[in-house]
Symmetry: C2
Subunit: 206 residues, 2 copies
Amino acid sequence: MGAEGGLRERKKLQTRAALADAALRLALEKGPDHVTVEEIAEAADVSVRTFFNYFPHKEHAIIGRNPEHLERALDRMRTAPAGESPLTTMWYAVQDVLRDLESDGELSRRGELIMSSPTLLYQLMLSSLDDERQLTAALAERMGEPAGSTRPALIVSAAGAACRVAMELHKAAPGRPVLELVREGFQLLAQGIDTAFGPDNERGSS
Amino acid sequence: MGAEGGLRERKKLQTRAALADAALRLALEKGPDHVTVEEIAEAADVSVRTFFNYFPHKEHAIIGRNPEHLERALDRMRTAPAGESPLTTMWYAVQDVLRDLESDGELSRRGELIMSSPTLLYQLMLSSLDDERQLTAALAERMGEPAGSTRPALIVSAAGAACRVAMELHKAAPGRPVLELVREGFQLLAQGIDTAFGPDNERGSS
DNA sequence: GAAAAACTTGCAGTCAGTGCAAACTATTAA
DNA sequence: TTAATAGTTTGCACTGACTGCAAGTTTTTC
């Protein structure tokens, strides 16, 4: 029946999914701060201790990140066509992930939940930190830049900022789709966010 | 002796400072994850309960943010000369804060500590979230942009990204001062981080 | 079918963080 | 100075997150 992996592995995936689902459902129902791990574990029919074998925190389960997304993004970076500009590469990677989330109908449900809870949001940002490091490394290599250079790091980090801003704006005014907002952000970043920037030319006096 | 405020107020400031100092010292000594609130409270000669009257979390005490910094930054936004470009305004605000931290010798000690501990870093980012909202609102108003527009939000958020990247790079290679790295980041953001960006022009086939 | 490896669970324990009520201390008014 | 008042500190009891350890179970492997 099971296509790949033994029974053991399938069961693990099942448990993980059950926990993540229960976590999201309960968080949406009761508000993320009013769910206890005990409830989540109970809903997924495992012990509390087992919950912590799968997730390091409650928040991690609620956020329910898909590890595959980072993998796919890294892959895209590495296999990008030679002439493609770095932000463009980044754009395709982001687009890919967002599309995937959207197709689940997850993007709105989960996204809104996350944006509305500081605890969740910072937990997400925290897990992004690690991603950003990996993405930066991959991008730097692709660009042929040395490890300590600013541009690749800033591209990755600013792209993250654009995504967050997009989600925030989307939450405030759901009219415009997230993807479009992200795209606008990328556009701005690409062309220059403030072409009149010039700290030393403007200070007339004093 | 006390210039302003009654004895009560002075005492509060004193206690707060004592707690923040103890928190930073102990965190540097033992690593941020191995300090307990009990130790901090003990070192500052107050009860654990009192600690929580001053700070919502352990991390908050370690980070020891100066609320004045946000105030000054907001002020700078509001009183910026009419012709000044938004990122430039942002730059002066950031510069102001960094200089202040540097003059204490705090920037390296605390900064490195923060960058090396995910818990601290995300706690810092969390408190930045709130700042970002306020700064965005102030900047949007200054720019005469409507509330939901992307540019001011992105400017603030990307500036934050630039600061984080600068600190990270500085930690990896302490040769270049943070301020210079931040400046480089701002420069890149201003001119355009990737002028060759163009998702739709590049995909030849498929 | 038995030994080995992986997974689950309960239990005991540490630590963070909160609400409450009592004790204490600065401030204010008389 | 004193008495009322308002703000602060503290202890206590409690919930809940999270960890290590030592059984138990279940899957895998031979």
